[in-house]
Symmetry: C2
């Protein structure tokens, strides 16, 4: 049984941050293709991808966006967070085997509502930014610990 | 065998649009949870979700973002498109069974580079916007038809 705890609005400070790591797998791309319906062969077909400028299969850009959203939902602020908006800049391709670091940091707290803005950056094993962006969320106002769901 | 064709930059006109439909399933949420690592019970646990303000499980916000990215990659401009940036506003929750319409429309063409800006809107069966946003992409410059990958 795994539980996750949140960081309520009143405990958050500017520059608070979290870091998650994720190594990209073939399964990630297949799962994301199934979930999104994006069956473009650039993500799924080695032979086709070798003929493109990328020379190999690359992850869907929004897959990396999904890693950012997971960090918001699981870590900072965590359970109880309501997603308001997100912008994403896709800087470099992400390939299978890439070791990604997802870092979120609080850059702004709203005065009168529990709204928080976070800078989001995903870098690869060469410390190069692959995706950067900004998220705006309604942070939870009460402490909460919830049990995550184990998927087979 | 399914093929998809693109819309090269020089054929695109302002207000060109595409529309895809998708009915949200339990499997979608499970697939997206696996792909992103977002195991928050709001998306996966009926009993927990019933205790929240949403009263039922809701889709991950970025799942709906993934539907937008799939429309860009598969339809408009389609194969050969390179994703540059995306912003998303999450307007309303998306639930299992919701019948979503994903509409993209060209709103700007760059003068000197094959860069296109598209308005993106996802509405539900009640014609209410659930996610809106803007995508900037490098459009393909040559016509291309590619075979999509069938996933079991």
């Amino acid at each position: 049984m795994t539980t996750i705890s949140n960081r309520p609005f009143n405990t958050l400070k500017i520059d608070d941050s979290c870091k998650r790591k994720h190594t990209v797998t073939d399964d990630d791309l297949i799962m994301f293709a199934k979930a999104s319906g994006d069956l473009n062969p650039l993500h799924l077909d080695d032979v086709y991808a070798a003929t493109t400028a990328f020379k190999q299969r690359i992850a869907h850009g929004m897959f990396t966006g999904g890693l950012i959203s997971a960090a918001l939902a699981m870590d900072l602020p965590g359970p109880g967070t309501i997603y308001l908006s997100q912008d994403l800049q896709f800087k470099r391709p992400v390939c299978i085997g890439d070791e990604l670091s997802i870092v979120l940091s609080v850059i702004e707290k709203h005065e009168s509502k529990p709204i928080v803005t976070l800078h989001c950056e995903v870098t690869n094993q060469d410390d190069k930014a692959v995706v950067t962006g900004t998220a705006k969320v309604m942070a939870p106002t009460v402490s909460m610990t919830v049990q995550t769901v184990e998927l087979s």
